[in-house]
């Protein structure tokens, strides 16, 4: 019985329970270099991009590698030229299982989280592994 409850909790619990971090953002006209510095400062691997207080794009370590360095572009270009505009999101009320599916199906490492259709947070691949690790610790502690 304990096992069933533990397992049900993991996958069917709403995303809301697992959002631990605020989403960090930069303005659309920031340079790629400034955006990269901000990511380093906060120890994160993705950023939201804002225009008129609205999230208009998303920007990751992989974009810096692929669309700037490998492509031979200058880090002085604005993030708006590099960002991804197709945002992949899940609602806070959806089960955590949905996050795993999105990350696997789209080969992405970050899913933006929405509530009432506004973006309110983010869940990363690392968050998923950290959750798993906590689940294991809880299981071991309960043995």
């Amino acid at each position: 019985m304990k096992d069933e409850r533990t397992r049900a909790f993991d996958l069917d619990a709403p995303v809301r329970r697992y959002i631990t971090k605020k989403l960090i953002a930069v303005e659309h006209d920031s340079t790629v270099q400034d955006a990269a510095s901000r990511m380093v400062e906060f120890g994160i691997s993705s950023l939201a991009v804002l225009r008129d207080r609205e999230v208009v794009g998303f920007f990751t370590d992989a974009d810096i590698k692929e669309r700037v360095v490998a492509a031979g572009r200058s880090p002085a270009v604005p993030v708006s030229e590099i960002m991804t505009t197709e945002l992949i999101t899940a609602d806070v009320t959806e089960p955590i299982r949905r996050i795993l599916d999105l990350m696997s199906d789209h080969r992405i490492k970050h899913v933006l989280i929405t509530e009432h259709e506004s973006i309110v947070g983010i869940i990363t691949l690392r968050d998923v592994v950290d959750m798993e690790r906590r689940r294991l610790e809880t299981y071991i502690a309960g043995e």
Copy 2:
């Protein structure tokens, strides 16, 4: 009983069982731009760096962001100037649980895998999530 075996399998199984990818490498005198292009070509987020056929360093998306773009350095510098030389490894005979511990304790996304003290492969944060997903699918299929 089935539950116990499934859980034991996951964490105590040797790392060997989970290595699915070859480690991709570049020579130490490759430029950062060439290394980034190679990572894009293979769809990977890290590379081993070789000198005289030996792995002397490791290079990731995060290094490109932090030590090249945020630091304002040219992508024409050799990877040897940017790479991490302190390699974090696990042996193929160690349990998969050890990989989770290393990724969490060192805040890293890639662990190099050794066999008889030679580097033979890599396990990434994504691999761990993919394993977890397969475990869940197996569990669901077995219900």
